[in-house]
Point group: C2
Chain length 350, copies 2
């Protein structure tokens, strides 16, 4: 069993109003680089950013890391278009950062990224893979791909109030810039990604397709972004068994739409509730309030927690948060003593 984490960036994240409020755009491109350092080392090491929202909500990388410290799974991070360097070990598949989807071409190397990711996925000896993602702006690009494929297009958000109408307008503009209408890319998912997607999507889809071909069990660890990947795989004619594992926070926001989408794309769905509502800790309170919700393979990692161990994960999350400069006594909001210089807000654009 191994958790794979394709990590990348798209300039789409810089569009005003779709990414996490309060985050400085120039710091956001550091978020996935910091996320993978947290996953690898337990805290950012070289990254100048600690992705914590203004309200004290840490990146889902903190949760995934807490699970890892309890459960002990192997990780491989794949560079799926990082803009900023990271001190975490990464697999280099030659994937480039993505453009703003309102440009004519969003992912110039979508085909090549898929092919190289396919070979990588097919080469791995693991019996089971959980594939996650970290890409700020990723729910907007997911909406783009679903729309281009002509699929029902609800997507989640890292914000308690989902700016879904804003995202729809961005996607409409993006399709127009690529001379496309909704549904024009049905059965041609790589064209959809090239036009209005992000570089993490062909990387996740390629690894999944290659691994399925090799007989590996594949779980997509994520929410609506993984629904978009599943849609892309089905439109590409990949018919292997797929599972999606996400968090109760995404499921609560999406309601019946999530199960319907999984049904539509023939995916098993696992939803895990980490039980954060029982703790008086700012990080867990923010998740319960609808912030962040998912990302960095959080739902996939939570699905690996054996029965009875979730309390240990919550305990460990408090330790991880302490390393990230988030203390539980800030449960009513950001601590007055906290120094933003110690933990600049990277924000998340999910």
């Amino acid at each position: 069993m191994r958790v794979l984490l394709p990590a990348g960036t798209t300039e789409t994240a810089l569009i005003d109003g779709i990414s996490a409020a309060g985050a400085a755009p120039e710091l956001m491109e550091h978020t996935p680089s910091a996320d993978v350092e947290i996953l690898a080392y337990g805290e950012p090491t070289a990254s100048p950013v600690t992705p914590v929202s203004p309200n004290g909500c840490p990146t889902p990388a903190a949760v995934t890391r807490a699970v890892r410290e309890v459960v002990g799974f192997d990780v491989a991070v794949i560079d799926a278009g990082l803009t900023q360097s990271t001190a975490a070990p990464t697999v280099d598949l030659g994937v480039r950062p993505g453009n703003d989807i309102r440009d004519p071409i969003a992912v110039p190397d979508a085909d090549a990224a898929f092919d190289r990711a396919y070979d990588y996925g097919a080469s791995l000896p693991d019996e089971t893979l959980v594939i996650g993602e970290t890409v700020p702006g990723g729910t907007t690009t997911a909406l783009g791909v679903l729309t281009a494929l002509g699929e029902p297009s609800g997507v989640s958000s890292s914000l308690p109030e989902n700016p879904i109408e804003r995202k729809r307008r961005v996607v409409d503009e993006a399709l127009a810039a690529s001379d496309l209408e909704a549904g024009d890319c049905a059965q041609s998912p790589l064209e959809a990604i090239e036009a209005v997607g992000d570089p993490v999507q062909p990387t996740v889809a390629g690894i999944a397709a290659g691994a399925l071909e090799a007989g590996t069990d594949v779980t997509l660890g994520g929410g609506t972004q993984m629904v978009a990947v599943a849609a892309a795989l089905r439109h590409a004619g990949v018919d292997g068994q797929l599972s999606i594992a996400t968090t109760s926070f995404v499921a609560d926001e999406q309601g019946d739409r999530l199960a319907e989408a999984c049904d539509r794309f023939d995916c098993d769905l696992t939803v895990t509730d980490p039980g954060f509502d029982g703790r008086d800790h700012v990080a867990m309170a923010r998740y319960c309030a609808g912030e962040a919700k998912e990302g960095v393979a959080m739902g996939g990692a939570l699905s690996l927690v054996p029965d009875g161990w979730m309390g240990s994960v919550r305990d460990r999350l408090e330790e991880v948060c302490a390393r990230l400069g988030i203390e539980s006594d800030a449960a009513d909001g950001p601590s007055a003593e906290s120094d933003p210089g110690d933990a600049p807000e990277g924000g998340r654009g999910r």
Copy 2:
């Protein structure tokens, strides 16, 4: 606790007669890339080479992987000048492959590599680091650095018959090409490495120096190559507590010289005997015959095995060997049925 593995190449490995006999030079540069795939995934995945000697002796990566599968330590591979791509996750410190030490400059970016490695080592939150290496030709470059520093210069070999005189002639030629004599680089170890070393040396030394400065416990996992790194650190004025952990195979070959060198450079020495002599398996028999001996953090990994667990490591090594195409029934030599096309010999140049 984390095992770090700087992996790189030097054209020095291509010099006739110093590297593992029988290995095709054009395949040798794949060896470190394959080694780190074995460490990360349990077998080569993208690499076209499985480093197994003509006699059926697997790369030490197989042993380190077996220990990892039993003990479960974290790993980070550092690209310290890989020539060939690898599917293993690697930390990119911008280190370039090394030149033949008989060129005037062997490691053009030795200073920069050391500085970046220092920052990386200082940034890691681990309390304990074990730092290994994989670089074909590395014992010759170790001899080069020790000689340039004016230090007693015995080095080990991956061959049962150590071609030490051949190495000394190469080093003499290398020093002359750099307009140096033995001892000319005393107190200037980066000059020694630049002239007659390899790119893995400043990477290991830099990480160690940075980690020591940050208060981390550092063990150099290796044999005489790590003696050269320890010498470089002491000549650089680094006076922190250093340990070397190597295998009984190196210790047996080196006799008193190893302990004397560790004493000279104020290093604790741990020697671990994996008990391979009790098994009727070709891989273990070849180690007992003096092949390979050490590398890919083998001695460091073995030092992590708790009392009473070494039998499990040997059991696991048999499984790892089976994945690499080495079966125990080949104990009298390479199996007649083995297909060299399935497992091209990468060879080792230690």
